[in-house]
């Protein structure tokens, strides 16, 4: 059984330009329209924040707090299969506090992995049009659901990697502290590379059909996962110690999962360098659909889907394909647009679809 996850009864306060919003979203599709700068992205950001206590666009969380206010806060009732819970996340200038059913959870991580949410926003285009770092992050997000300990393994790996780099920088390739850190890089690296490899297999497996159903017919997508290290500790250690001289010259480790790559080719050419903007956008959306499916299967729940400004740059047929997907998905969806007329859903019931309008941070139902 895959549980349905739904936000209901949401309250947003002092969050960016949203002074106060109380709303009861539809369990199905929620279309949020409004002109530029009215608060559409902010509303998605608020939903994302109450689910995972982070932002998808702000480096500094402080920027979420409404100017002149001390705290931003979002409260939501979350239905999770048979269960319901109350989540509340509050952000001050110095601290972040969360409550789960009115109680402080043991760790922030317990709270932040409870309600899975997948978001698409224009910045996600870097999944396709930038270097591999963003794609690795995507894999790590999925890996965390497949193996919750992979997050700790990644942090430990990164620490050991930095220690080795400084040792190489300061004391050169024969420093005797290199061996211990290389051993630890290998042990933690293998643990987290294993979770990443599993995430990559699943992601790319789900990506192919998702791309096919949304992209222009006839486009050929070829994907390849190229691991930067090994899944064998002894081999990993051997590679690191034989690459010391080279790594110290380049001032970076030439081996290990920090070099994992996912290659995306459309019609035999790199999507990053050759695909059109619309094609890049569809590929990014397909990656998001694949992420949604991976997390759904790992977590046995339908993640909430937040789509910011999906339709720009898409032709009517692509837009239609995206909306076909949104109609069929069992996830609760929040989608923003400046042009709601692009998304007709004839005959949809109140449960299946609700339309909202944002004007200067105030939300009303259409």
């Amino acid at each position: 059984m895959t549980a349905l996850i739904r936000f209901s009864n949401v309250t947003v306060s002092a969050f960016r330009n949203l002074s106060r919003i109380d709303f009861e979203p539809a369990p199905g599709l929620n279309v949020i329209s409004g002109d530029n700068g009215q608060g559409k992205t902010s509303l998605l950001e608020a939903l994302y924040f109450v689910a995972v206590t982070r932002s998808f666009r702000a480096d500094k969380l402080e920027s979420l707090i409404q100017q002149g206010q001390k705290f931003a806060s979002v409260r939501a009732r979350v239905l999770d299969g048979e269960h319901g819970r109350e989540q509340r996340a509050t952000l001050g200038h110095k601290e972040r506090a969360v409550l789960l059913d009115g109680k402080k959870p043991e760790r922030l991580a317990t709270y932040a992995t409870r309600t899975p949410a997948v978001v698409f926003h224009p910045g996600d285009m870097e999944l396709v049009n930038a270097n591999a770092a963003a794609r690795r992050k995507l894999l790590d997000r999925i890996a965390l659901y497949l193996d919750p300990s992979s997050g700790d393994a990644r942090l430990s790996y990164t620490r050991a990697l930095k220690e080795r780099k400084v040792a190489l920088d300061v004391r050169g390739p024969s420093a005797r502290e290199l061996a211990p850190f290389e051993q630890l890089m290998a042990e933690h690296g293998v643990r987290f590379a294993r979770a990443r490899a599993e995430a990559a297999t699943r992601l790319l497996g789900a990506l192919a059909p998702a791309f096919q159903r949304m992209a222009q017919p006839g486009l050929q997508l070829v994907t390849k996962y190229r691991p930067g290290g090994s899944l064998d500790v002894a081999e990993f250690v051997g590679e690191l110690s034989s690459r010391r001289l080279r790594d110290s010259r380049q001032r970076a480790a030439s081996y290990g999962p920090q070099r994992d790559e996912i290659q995306l080719l459309i019609d035999g050419r790199s999507a990053r360098h050759h695909a059109s903007q619309g094609q890049q956008r569809i590929l990014t959306l397909a990656l998001k659909v694949a992420e949604l499916e991976c997390i759904r299967d790992a977590r046995r729940a339908h993640p909430v889907l937040l789509l910011d400004d999906v339709s720009s740059e898409l032709d009517p047929a692509r837009t239609g394909a995206v909306y076909d997907f949104l109609r069929e998905t069992q996830s609760q969806v929040f989608v923003t647009t400046t042009r709601p007329e692009l998304f007709p859903t004839p005959g949809a019931s109140k449960l299946e679809r609700a339309d909202w309008q944002l004007v200067s941070g105030a939300l009303s139902e259409l």
């Binding site: 430990s156 220690e163 502290e177 051993q183």
Partner: protein, 207 residues
């Protein structure tokens, strides 16, 4: 605005672990407004501290300075302790936590720091010579590495294991079971006891 002396006191107090600017200010005000007697006593206690309590000159634990002027801790002075068994820890707090669990019948050595090039600590910054001296003097046979299970703690253990195994010692590492990346200090006594009883041999490599 505040007198220089008071500013200085606040600055000194705010260097205490867990004390911020605000708390330091509260403490300082307390000395000024409330209790002169308490302040005098505290000052005296701090002054005498340096002369009477020091780090143990052998292991680094907290020790009371004896009449002979030597600083040796109760563990080092205890003749029932097995000198052939040595437990290496990062900090005095870890030593105290293991003592509380009553699972260690040997003696200790406190490193005071962990291997971390990032923090400017290489092998030469570790007190290895003191350690080797004690190993030789006490004819130590077995070493238990009880550094914390963080990356730096593990790296320190690996480095020490290599260096000590080269001297023909039996070296083991406490079993993991203490919270990952965490402090030994916060591990409960039963867990710590198990970690020490369940230690794994370390021959300088790892399986």
């Amino acid at each position: 605005m505040l007198p220089d002396r008071l500013e200085r006191l606040i600055e000194l107090l705010s260097r205490l672990p867990g004390v911020g600017e605000k708390t330091a200010q509260r403490f300082a005000m307390f000395f000024v407004t409330e209790s002169q007697e308490y302040a005098r006593e505290l000052g005296l206690a701090l002054q005498e501290l340096g002369a009477t309590v020091k780090r143990c000159q052998r292991c680094g634990n907290i020790a009371q300075v004896g009449e002979d002027g030597r600083a040796l801790c109760p563990v080092c002075l205890d003749p029932r302790r097995d000198g052939k068994l040595l437990c290496i820890v990062a900090r005095v707090q870890d030593l105290l936590a293991i003592e509380k669990s009553a699972s260690m019948r040997g003696r200790y050595f406190v490193l005071g720091r962990l291997l971390s090039p990032l923090d400017g600590v290489g092998p030469d910054e570790l007190p290895l010579e003191d350690l080797f001296r004690i190993v030789a003097e006490d004819a130590v046979k077995e070493v238990i590495l009880a550094t914390p299970p963080s990356v730096d703690g593990e790296a320190t253990a690996l480095l020490l294991a290599r260096e000590l195994a080269g001297k023909g010692l039996q070296v083991s590492r406490i079993a993991s079971g203490v919270p990952h990346g965490g402090d030994l200090e916060f591990a409960d006594q039963i867990t710590l006891g198990r970690a020490i009883d369940g230690r794994r041999s370390m021959d300088g490599k790892r399986s």
